[in-house]
């Protein structure tokens, strides 16, 4: 019974092409969402480090709000709510904007922590050597900041790739969506299991790498 409805080889094979198309979409989504999130997060982190309160406080407030709203809520709001205001973003647009705002906020927090972990003396020394402000940020502070928070960056990137599965809710044909289509056609849960296997194969190396990075970080702190 279990094997029949959960691990049917014929159904797995038949669903494979559909799932493969989904996997390609998932990878494309990840390639779109990760740079969007990193770009938005980096910009927000650099801006929230500026001395002007009028920039810093509203930005930190926004970051906290987008960290408080579950990404699925944000996505549904953009996809199903905004058309009422005459703004139809479509599935890809809604997913891209939701990721920009949500994962951007998470990346911003991480970059902020990283930038704060670099001693002030570094920036002052670089200024004293005659580097311009943007050069100080780009060549002196950021490389050290990124090194200090690398495990968190990798961890968040893994979360972003996992989060692309939310796009199935707005009918974007990524891996989970394709698996559910195949399931509803075949009345059999095998395609979902195969999709889970795809996710695992795709992301396991990332999890292992992360484990090693985290262990090294803890060992370094001892």
């Amino acid at each position: 019974m279990f094997v029949e409805s959960f691990l049917t080889t014929e159904i797995a094979l038949a669903a494979l092409p559909i799932l493969w198309m989904g996997l390609v979409q998932t990878i494309l989504l990840a390639l779109l969402c990760v740079p969007l999130g990193i770009g938005a997060g980096l910009a927000a982190a650099l801006l929230s480090g500026r001395p002007e309160r009028a920039i810093r406080w509203p930005l930190i407030g926004l970051i906290d709000i987008f960290r408080a709203v579950p990404p699925l809520v944000l996505l549904i709001f953009l996809y199903a709510g905004l058309p009422f205001a005459g703004l139809d973003l479509g599935a890809w647009g809604a997913v891209a904007l939701a990721f920009l705002l949500n994962t951007g906020a998470y990346y911003a927090e991480i970059f902020r922590a990283g930038i704060e972990s670099v001693g002030r003396g570094q920036a002052e020394a670089a200024r004293a050597l005659g580097l311009r402000r943007w050069q100080v940020s780009l060549f002196v502070v950021l490389p050290q900041a990124v090194r200090n928070v690398l495990p968190d960056l990798v961890s968040n990137t893994l979360e972003v790739v996992k989060l692309t599965s939310l796009a199935s809710v707005v009918a974007l044909p990524e891996l989970l969506f394709q698996a559910r289509q195949a399931q509803s056609i075949t009345f059999n849960a095998t395609p979902i299991l195969v999709a889970a296997l795809f996710y695992f194969i795709l992301l396991w190396p990332c999890v292992r790498l992360l484990s090693r990075l985290e262990n090294r970080q803890i060992a370094g702190r001892r």
């Binding site: 579950p70 699925l72 709001f77 599965s165 989970l176 889970a196 695992f200 702190r221």
Partner: protein, 226 residues
Amino acid sequence: MSGLDAFLFSFLNARVAAEYWPKIVDGLGVTIVLALLVILAGLALGLGLAVLRALGIRPLNWAIIFLVDVFRALPPLVLIVLIYFGLPAAGLSFSGFGATWLALTLVLMAFAEEIFWAGICAVPKGQWEAGRALGLRFLPTLGRIVLPQAIRIAVPPLTNRTIAITKGTALGSVVAVAEILGAAQSGMAFSGNPTPLTLGAIAYILLFLPVVVAGRWVETRFRWKR
């Protein structure tokens, strides 16, 4: 109607809000209960696995590491769908609530195990040796000397991870759990107006913004001194 009026009519419509806010409040209750159940079970299981791993039995440790890796690699939504649609085929039926609870609990268990284990590893070896030298057995040394220190180390990363996973309760709407998002979506479908969704988003912000701000405070308060 001016632009602003039209916008308010759609997104903060008083009539629709008056009709649907009790549903959203019910959803808020479901979200809070689900979140608390996930946090309780997930943290307890994670701590249990970390303690098992501290016993140092090789094959057992490999099994734990693999289990943790699986639930760190799979997206929570995939797990929920798999449990809800897949497990009935194996004779195990879950309600939407049960499936969401189980999936999020397993995910939190995996992350919590990693963080507790990292905390245990970060306690200096001398603490173990001192405990043993004082005549304490393995388990009392672990429970009374190492774990209290390990848990303190684990608090900041664990807080943020727990908040992130708790927000996953919104995924329950996909398998028909009437939590905040589910209630808001059905309200939107019935009224043909997105106001319930606005209310839902406000409910989430009211619920999680204090938690996010508190998490930021905990993180700086308990941060490792370098």
